[in-house]
């Protein structure tokens, strides 16, 4: 078990290194940080001083090493656009994104999995056909349009829910949360639905496809031939076997949710990391982009690790080696 985690972490290391390298390359070679930081008026001495201060006169690998060292300590430099430490900006905005992503992921799983199971089991019922049509529209609708439509209906026409911002938030030891106020929860509804809808339809279609696949297998036929009740066949034998692929994709989708939060946050002016990132792309604010990239990579590595551990829990073939036939 422990060895398993270690080996997975070791596998993740090259990915992190590659991503850090890309981040560093962006940081060091795209645009001219010195010119941007100095502004209009500067002397050659000031310029040289800044170059030394930033370590830009050092050899390549020394610079990369310094960059890595700083990154590990959470130091990603100063934002060109906002002139504040990048780490500070990200810490400030992380709670908003994480709460949004978590709510959306929960929504996608809690609704998507049952819908997928239902449509897989009762593939010809009218409700299944309705779900499938709904899901097809779901995958054809870009996230930002879902957001706009929801705003039009629920904020502009009906006036039930707010259309931008987080509403009231509570500050708990530096973590701003919208979970504890009525206003905060109301503000969360539309963005979470927007962000979760696409993943929901995807998870539903995936669970359905896996369910259909598993229902065709011999062990399901054999379970039926043994006269087991439908409940046991469907929810005991079939559902558990669909879990392995579902866990993989659901894990990847959780990552996708954090990436797509960029779009949702833009539509709803949600003060999270995604909005920060897109503003940075627009302004060519490289330090923020680089830091965001590394952060996202870290999130993906962690998600992949969790996915692997869940596999381990679900599938005995990974847990227990073959102990030889007699």
């Amino acid at each position: 078990m422990f060895a398993f985690i270690i080996s997975r972490l070791l596998q993740a290391l090259p990915v992190m290194l590659v991503v850090s390298f890309i981040s560093f390359a962006m940081f060091a070679y795209v645009g001219d940080p010195v010119a941007i930081m100095l502004g209009q008026d500067f002397t050659e001495e000031q310029r040289q001083a800044l170059i030394r201060q930033l370590g830009l006169d050092q050899p390549f690998f020394v610079q990369f090493g310094t960059f890595l060292g700083n990154a590990v300590q959470g130091n990603f430099g100063i934002s060109y656009r906002l002139s504040r430490p990048v780490a500070e900006l990200i810490v400030e905005r992380a709670p908003a994104t994480l709460e949004l992503a978590f709510t959306a992921a929960f929504l996608a799983l809690a609704v998507g999995v049952p819908m997928g199971v239902y449509t897989g089991l009762y593939r010809n019922s009218w409700l299944s056909k309705f779900f499938l049509t709904f899901s097809l529209i779901g995958v054809s609708l870009p996230t930002f349009l879902i957001g706009i439509l929801l705003i039009l209906v629920f904020a502009v026409w009906l006036g039930w829910l707010p259309s931008f911002g987080r509403g009231e938030v509570v500050n708990i030891a530096g973590w701003t949360s919208g979970f504890f106020t009525w206003g905060g929860l109301k503000a969360l509804v539309l963005p979470a639905v927007t962000l979760g809808l696409f993943q929901l339809t995807l998870i539903m279609r995936l669970v359905r496809a896996e369910m259909l696949e598993v229902l065709r297998t011999d062990y399901i036929k054999f379970a039926r031939a043994r006269g087991l009740p439908n409940r046991a066949v469907h929810f005991g034998h079939a559902l558990k076997n669909t879990l392995v692929p579902v866990i993989t994709i659901a894990g990847l989708q959780l990552g996708a949710i954090i990436a797509f939060a960029i779009v949702t946050e833009t539509v709803f002016q949600w003060p999270g990391m995604g909005l920060l990132f897109i503003q940075s792309v627009g302004a060519a604010d490289i330090p923020v982009m680089a830091a965001y990239l590394m952060l996202i990579a870290l999130v993906f590595v962690v998600i992949n690790l969790v996915v692997d551990l869940l596999y381990y829990a679900v599938d005995p073939r990974l847990r227990i080696g073959k102990s030889g036939g007699h």
Binding site: D218, F222, A225, R226, G227, G236, N241, I320, G325, H326
Partner: protein, 321 residues
């Protein structure tokens, strides 16, 4: 007195977009209590389909379009799903071809046995577990008490088929439908598994429908044998009679193609041509294009099973009108 199982004029159809395919046509036979009926034929002759129809698990869109299936005199082909479910496992057990894919990989064999036993028999989980261990011992799993909590992937193919047999028998059904139970196994293990099946069936008084294309297995195990061709029963009768003195030209062709063990032959007999596709079954007797003894009547009219010595054969050679 009723037969244990009686199949009367069974017809199974598959609606497809190019018209309806008739997979089984006018199939009739009976199995008596404790009897082993072998069912042989080429692939696609409808052997497995007959088994699937009996346990009520035809693959959609296949459906029973005519005829009846009776278990101890009671019709079971038109039962609601839930009633048929109670019969499966409890009254009719099933063994599938490939033990590697028949067991759920995510559950221990103990759990799969216990759930089957508690579904059908009035035992509590602890009693069911004891019963499961007894069954594992009966099918010859060494150290059954220790191995009951192992997962299927921890067993070899032959051992897994033994577990499958225990699963099929553990609710003590009166009939087992065994669909090619040894085809997927190593040749060296096939004989052991067949011997096990035969012994358990005899000890428990269980009747068996043994579907296989291995004539050797049939000759050794079955009491009677049904030869199927293109979705129909060509001949049915006592195993000795069919093997030694087959009446239907197809059965005799089939028997002639078995390599004899007691003498050397230079060339095995083969039947010319191949079995027709379901979409192109010829008029009259389905075998007529390949039959060496074909008559004009064979091309026009379809023969029913006619008495032919000790067996019955669907062949005009035995018509006495």
């Amino acid at each position: 007195m009723n037969s244990l199982l009686e199949v009367r004029n069974l017809r199974v159809e598959f609606p497809t977009r190019r018209g309806t395919l008739v997979a089984l046509d006018d199939v009739s036979f009976a199995i008596e209590p404790g009897e082993v009926l072998g069912v042989v034929g080429e692939s696609g002759a409808g052997k497995s389909m007959t088994g699937a129809a009996i346990i009520g698990l035809l693959e959609p869109p296949g459906r029973i379009a005519g005829g009846q299936i009776l278990l101890e005199g009671r019709r079971i082909d038109n039962l609601p799903y839930e009633e048929m479910r109670r019969i499966r496992g409890r009254h009719i057990g099933a063994i599938f071809q490939d033990p590697l894919t028949t067991l759920n990989p995510l559950y221990t064999i103990g759990r799969q046995l216990v759930e089957t036993i508690t579904t059908h028999l009035p035992l509590n989980p602890a009693q069911a577990r004891e019963r499961a261990i007894e069954w594992l011992e009966l099918v010859g799993i060494p150290a059954a008490r220790d191995r009951i909590d192992a997962y299927p992937h921890q067993f070899s193919g032959g051992m897994r088929q033994r577990v499958v047999i225990a699963l099929a028998l553990c609710a003590e059904p009166k009939l087992i439908v065994a669909d090619e139970p040894t085809t997927a196994l190593d040749v060296s293990i096939q004989a052991q598994v067949i011997a096990l099946l035969k012994r358990l069936a005899r000890e428990k008084g269980t009747a068996m429908m043994l579907v296989t294309h291995d004539m050797g297995v049939i000759a050794e195990t079955a009491d009677r044998v049904a030869v199927m061709y293109a979705g129909r029963v060509a001949e049915i009768g006592p195993v000795r009679e069919v093997v030694k003195h087959a009446k239907h030209p197809y059965s005799s062709g089939l028997m002639a193609s078995i390599p004899p063990l007691d003498r050397r032959v230079d060339k095995l007999a083969a039947i010319d041509g191949s079995m027709p596709r379901l979409s192109a079954i010829p008029q009259g007797c389905a075998y007529n294009p390949r039959c060496p003894q074909v008559m004009e009547r064979c091309r026009q009219q379809r023969p029913d099973l006619l008495p032919a010595g000790e067996t019955r054969a669907a062949c005009w050679l035995y018509a006495h009108d």
